[in-house]
Symmetry: C2
């Protein structure tokens, strides 16, 4: 994969191309053309929690130019300065890629140039980048099958109802009332949902159901 991404970088004539996987446990995996120093630094400092590219793409539908992200905040600006120092370009374009169970990856192109040149580049290449991002993601999953086939046991309709209402802030009594069942029955649903999700408590179960896309609030 490393050779592929380097070839793609040369093809697009950008400074960097990076594929970066972030999973629900906070594990990271990726390959790309950033320097090893920067990658190590990034992981060591746990920048994934700070990086506006991650944060921004996580709550966005569409590919995004880094210029449109929120770079305010002292820590963020320090991070940005450090990134540029380590050779990350001042421009960037990141494509969020999502899979089942909240699986999430980014495909990023980064370069050093002025705004206008970058805009032109993106306008010209965004379609190809989108296709390649998805194709690359597919290949990456083929090579790392462990990441994909996380057993996504479906919740039963009643369990979905229960989780959804809990995620909406109702307590058990209110949820039971909404569903017109006894609180005891509701508890069985919550417990079985928790078991299916491998969660330690209700909050955990709701969090997992949300990040796996099993419920929507």
């Amino acid at each position: 994969m490393q050779a592929v991404i380097e070839a793609l970088r040369d093809h697009f004539r950008v400074d960097h191309l990076v594929y970066h996987w972030v999973d629900s446990a906070g594990d990271q995996y990726g390959c790309g053309t950033y320097s090893d120093d920067w990658r190590d630094r990034y992981i060591e400092q746990n920048y994934v929690r700070l990086d506006p590219v991650i944060i921004g793409c996580y709550s966005r539908f569409h590919p995004v130019d880094w210029k449109r992200l929120d770079w305010s905040g002292k820590a963020v600006r320090a991070f940005q300065a450090e990134a540029i120092e380590y050779g990350v370009g001042n421009q960037g374009y990141s494509i969020p890629i999502r899979g089942p169970n909240g699986q999430f990856a980014l495909f990023t192109a980064s370069h050093n140039c002025d705004d206008q040149a970058w805009t032109v580049f993106i306008e010209k290449n965004r379609r190809d980048l989108l296709l390649i991002a998805h194709e690359f993601n597919r290949k990456a999953l083929e090579f790392e099958p462990d990441r994909a086939p996380e057993v996504a046991r479906q919740l039963s309709p009643r369990e979905i109802d229960a989780m959804t209402l809990l995620a909406m802030g109702y307590n058990r009594a209110q949820v039971a009332d909404s569903l017109s069942i006894s609180e005891h029955t509701l508890r069985v649903y919550i417990e079985s949902a928790r078991a299916k999700l491998g969660a330690m408590n209700t909050t955990h179960a709701v969090a997992r159901a949300l990040s796996r896309g099993l419920i929507v609030v």
Copy 2:
């Protein structure tokens, strides 16, 4: 949008193109070239809970040929027969599109032909279909901005830590221990996060933090 999708259908020379948004709350929205009768029937019967295209794409990363879905089960086969009766093609290719918070849409091409012809068609057009699916989804969201997620007030770093660990399933004692603060202090963070998020309880706060992308678990 309706005119656009009809033009696209004619361009690809397939029987149907459909864009179908669905979330686990059961809300649906879409446009496409299926007959109104079938659409009404589909909604009325709540087929979204049965449809192997929905179920299958929901747990899959990549676009999928309908042939590879699981059509076993009595109700499913009845559904399939009924769909064909209403004019849906015997072949189909569906592209899952995901957004933040488990938001989920499908872009589907369907046609009546034999397996081989369909395979050739897909091989030839899958790239274009992927691009168009994403582009169409973007346009659809522009017209329906309500569906896009809201951006929200930032949490403090400590609040993010607290929410994150709670979302990972730890209880307050464990979280306090992880953060090396007293449980009483932790409680203040949780409460302030809850206030900022307008949440009724901890589970609600974690759910909101997650779905607003303020924390990543």
